[in-house]
């Protein structure tokens, strides 16, 4: 094991179902098998990974390489999702690496109370991502007044157009703000926690507009569908607004250790 490190995906409560069904089939980072490292009533999902790729220097370099990062991120996510389909899982942040499995046990031992508390809190909850986009492109909002087309003075026409663009933008933004407000109201009694993320600047193909809110909601599993429908309804009929619901996710955004929860982290209502 000299040249191997232990890559940890997440923490679960061990059960035969998890070990047998879930992890037998899944391949983790770098195609490695995934096993459970147990300690007491907790277990960490772990893969052996080559030191050459996951030492500090190697990681630093690799994380700059998007292809590598993407592959690892997807593998990490897949293991976490697989676990999540069978039990409650605390996803660890990407690239949490220990020297060996013994060190993983030490970690589980050290943090037993915290981890157990989080597992209890997140049990039977899912996370929904809700993104609100303001789309100020022409056509997304109200059509321009008919008189504009007949404007004979080009300067004036230009200024008028600029003004319309600005108005369209303002309208889209205020509609979007409206949507965010409605969504929060709608989510109020269904979600047990809410986290606000940085708006995404990446644009997915087919997407348009500017991401003005990127939120995550923690919802009890049995009300997940109800939540999703309610969110989509809340945003209906608002011009220039697009709402995207992603998930259900393993509760990534709510797996926060209280003492170093960042200010943008989960808030308990």
């Amino acid at each position: 094991m000299e040249d191997q490190l232990s890559y940890v995906y997440g923490v679960v409560r061990p059960s035969p179902a998890v070990e047998g069904d879930a992890l037998a089939a899944v391949r983790g980072v770098a195609g490695a098998p995934v096993t459970l490292v147990r300690h007491g009533d907790l277990a960490a999902a772990v893969s052996p990974v080559p030191r050459s790729d996951f030492s500090e220097a190697a990681l630093r370099a690799h994380l700059e390489d998007l292809e590598w990062l993407e592959a690892v991120a997807r593998a990490h996510h897949q293991v976490v999702e697989t676990l999540g389909a069978h039990t409650t899982v605390l996803p660890l942040r990407l690239a949490t690496v220990y020297l060996d499995d013994a060190r993983v046990r030490d970690m589980l031992d050290e943090r037993q109370r915290t981890l157990t508390g989080l597992l209890d809190r997140l049990a039977d909850h899912v996370e929904w991502g809700v993104k609100v986009y303001a789309d100020a492109s022409p056509g997304a909002t109200a059509p321009p007044p008919a008189g504009a087309a007949r404007e004979t003075d080009p300067g004036r026409a230009y200024l008028r157009q600029r003004r319309q663009q600005r108005h369209a933008r303002e309208d889209a933004w205020s509609s979007a703000a409206d949507a965010v407000r409605r969504i929060q109201e709608g989510a109020g009694d269904l979600a047990v926690a809410h986290a606000r993320h940085r708006p995404q600047q990446g644009r997915l193909a087919g997407g348009s507009g500017e991401n003005i809110a990127n939120d995550a909601y923690l919802v009890p599993r049995e009300r997940a569908e109800e939540f999703r429908e309610r969110i989509l309804r809340a945003a209906e009929g608002l011009a220039g607004v697009r709402v995207e619901v992603t998930g259900p996710w393993v509760p990534y955004s709510f797996a926060q250790v209280p003492q170093n929860a960042d200010p943008q982290g989960a808030t308990q209502p």
Binding site: V8, E64, L66, A73, R74, P91, A95, H197, E222, Q256
Partner: protein
């Protein structure tokens, strides 16, 4: 990239198995695995906060543009920080259309404000309309490339143009120098011309007229 709703609470778990082929929400996945999840410092310490998203975005450009496009991520095409073409082709088309329109407007105004001496004959007007048509296809490009110069340039060229005009038979073999013919505006002043009130919507009528002229020209 909203995923289809899952089977619902009746299923053992509402979490969908993660589809290997689905690359639609890489952005969301990265956001979660890089930024969220429980932060426990391992033995290999790597400060992920160092890895700013911007770096990742720039790397994406270098690393695998095609792959990213394949899985449907193309934001750098529209990101002014990353692309000089950030305007997007759609915007360019709009701009182009707008510029054409403005140029057309400017021409009309010039025509109306210019005091032009008597030259050129009304009979030339119709063949010239053909030039107008061609001109409108060519002009905007030049105008754009040269900024406002062309307008003044045209004014300078007006004299020689008119000279040439007088020497020339109105015919189909007229060359490109006639393209910049401002004389047509004179004619428009002189006689009521339906084209003068031309709005974008009246194109079809002009086309018909041109077809008729072509027949004239051949006979």
């Amino acid at each position: 990239m909203t995923e289809p709703p899952s089977a619902g609470p009746s299923a053992a778990r509402t979490l969908q198995p993660y589809g290997q082929g689905s690359g639609a929400n890489l952005a969301d996945i990265l956001e979660r695995v890089l930024d969220k999840g429980i932060v426990i410092v391992g033995d290999i310490k790597i400060d992920l906060l160092d890895i700013e998203l911007l770096t990742i975005r720039l790397r994406l450009l270098v690393a695998s543009v095609d792959k990213a496009k394949e899985i449907g991520i193309d934001w750098w095409e529209r990101d002014p920080a990353l692309s000089s073409r950030a305007d997007g082709t759609r915007d360019l088309k709009e701009q182009n259309a707008r510029l054409r329109e403005e140029i057309e407007q400017l021409r009309k105004q010039m025509a109306e404000s210019q005091e032009l001496p008597e030259a050129g004959a009304g009979s030339r007007r119709r063949p010239r309309d053909r030039d107008v048509e061609r001109e409108r296809e060519r002009e905007p490009v030049r105008e754009r490339a040269l900024g406002r110069e062309p307008v003044r340039e045209r004014e300078r060229e007006r004299e020689p143009d008119r000279e040439r005009e007088r020497e020339r038979e109105p015919g189909r073999e007229r060359g490109q120098e006639r393209e910049r013919e401002p004389g047509r505006q004179r004619d428009r002043e002189r006689e009521p011309d339906p084209d003068r009130e031309r709005e974008p919507g009246t194109e079809p009528r002009r086309r018909k007229r041109r077809i008729a002229e072509d027949d004239d020209g051949r006979s």
